[in-house]
Amino acid sequence: MTASEIVRMTAAELGAAVRSGQTSAEEATGAYLDRVAEVDGQVNAFLHVDRDTALAQARAVDARLAAGEDPGPLAGVPVAHKDVFTTADMPTTAASRILEGWRPPYDATVTARLRQAGMVVLGKTNMDEFAMGSSTENSAYGVTRNPWDLDRIPGGSSGGSSAAVAAFEAPLATGTDTGGSIRQPAAVCGLVGAKPTYGGSSRYGLIAFASSLDTPGPLARNVLDAALLHEAFSGHDPRDSTSVDAPVPPVVEAARRADVEGLRVGVVKELGGEGYQPGVLRRFTEAVELLESLGAKVVEVSCPSFDAALAAYYLIAPSECSSNLARFDAMRYGLRVGDDGTRSAEEVMSLTRAEGFGPEVKRRIILGTYALSSGYYDAYYGSAQQVRTLIKRDFDAAFENVDVLVSPTTPTTAFPLGERTGDPMAMYLADLCTIPANLAGNAALSVPCGLADEDNLPVGLQIMAPALADDRTYRVAAAVEAALADRRGGPLLAGSAFAV
């Protein structure tokens, strides 16, 4: 099988080809490593690629298969991990100077489960430092470029993962979604990205940003591939005390079912209109009409508290981050600056953190420290937690009448590199539509719904479902994907500059 045939396959097809012996894990991994070597100089999706380690893993998978083991449908399929998941055999930096060169002593649960499933780790992908950002421009190791237009952002914070999959440098990638960090990069790169129900995927070994929101999830070129990856790493993990002890929602079955007949779909009134790019709204409206033509019952739903979601998020997430990032104290691992024998531990700590953290991370630590300080706690953090209750109530009320809610995933398509780096509030607006599902913890997914007329860049349709009803988001996404592929005569990514 040729390298270009391998890279063009879906992950599901590649897994089947490995199982049937048409190709091997080693051949598939080699094909993707060659593709990375060919294009990553332009895209800069990866922070770390280790050819020898990846090929050794692949040979071990081939040996498992030869011995009669059945690790599952993704055995032999390569995967790229966001550099926020610990990997015992590769560095893990969270794209921060403070963790430069750090080799974790253990694997994250997501990493370990995908190894168990026979997947081969190609490398670690770039991201906004500690997952704080919406463009991957906050990485300490350079920007990642959007394969649709190299002068534009790939989204963030999982922008290395989205760019890698969109540039056919990996068939699948992992990401994390705290305020939209999987769905927004998926939307602006023309991919499928899912934020599972909070607690549905384990946070063990995930470098923490905002622990009540952080959720690992899949990025893929199509809905079925995303579902296969989702299923492979999900499920109860006793090592994460917030992990849900419930069966994994039947996402793969839902992706194969792909019908919306009789499904009740709510269009969120508050997510759209003024401030949204006209081309984004046009594709969104067409996607809703498409769902109706496929037999869904569409109604408008009002979720008035969503208007305050962004404000609540930018108090809650920085508050949790200011506490979580206190662990980077220059004592047990990571960078240490200024330890010349004359300075106290506290001075070394302060110098190290000032040098090791980038501007956005410092901004959020200071903001969180402010919001949690006495005298301001009730007004800011306390009020934000009350808003969180209101958002949950809006979702609960909506899901009494509809099965899923839909909105655009992002207000605009991919914006130019550098456009928002000097304006934190403008950057934060990229997460406007995705944040409510994080605050409430329910399932949400982004699926491509076409290109905007103004700039020919991908637009994402966001589908939100109740907690533990992740399968509904896959069912709707698969129906949209199939109908649009029929109309277009092929997948959306076939139109990308990096299509193979």
């Binding site: 917030t242 004592m331 691992y333 200071i366 934000a384």
Partner: protein, 99 residues
Amino acid sequence: MSAITRDEVAHLARLSRLALHEDELDQLAAQLDEIISAVAKVQEVAQGDIPPTSHALPLTNVYRPDETHQGLTPDQALAGAPAVEDQRFRVPQILGEEE
């Protein structure tokens, strides 16, 4: 009205153990002011008797079986340390001369 002063940012930086430069303090004071006035909206919405939600999942008392497992070896635990001495983390001075 400027809600956040440069001195206040300097105080927050001390609490956060961040040795910020003078120009960073100025820049952060201006940016924090803008961000705080944008997020202050939560106070208008959170009116009345609304219980707070601190977490998406209402889980309480999550236990795991009390079993022993193999942890990290001392070498593994120390592998990423900036400085090591006698199989321990070597850290700068914590207490002053008088303490």
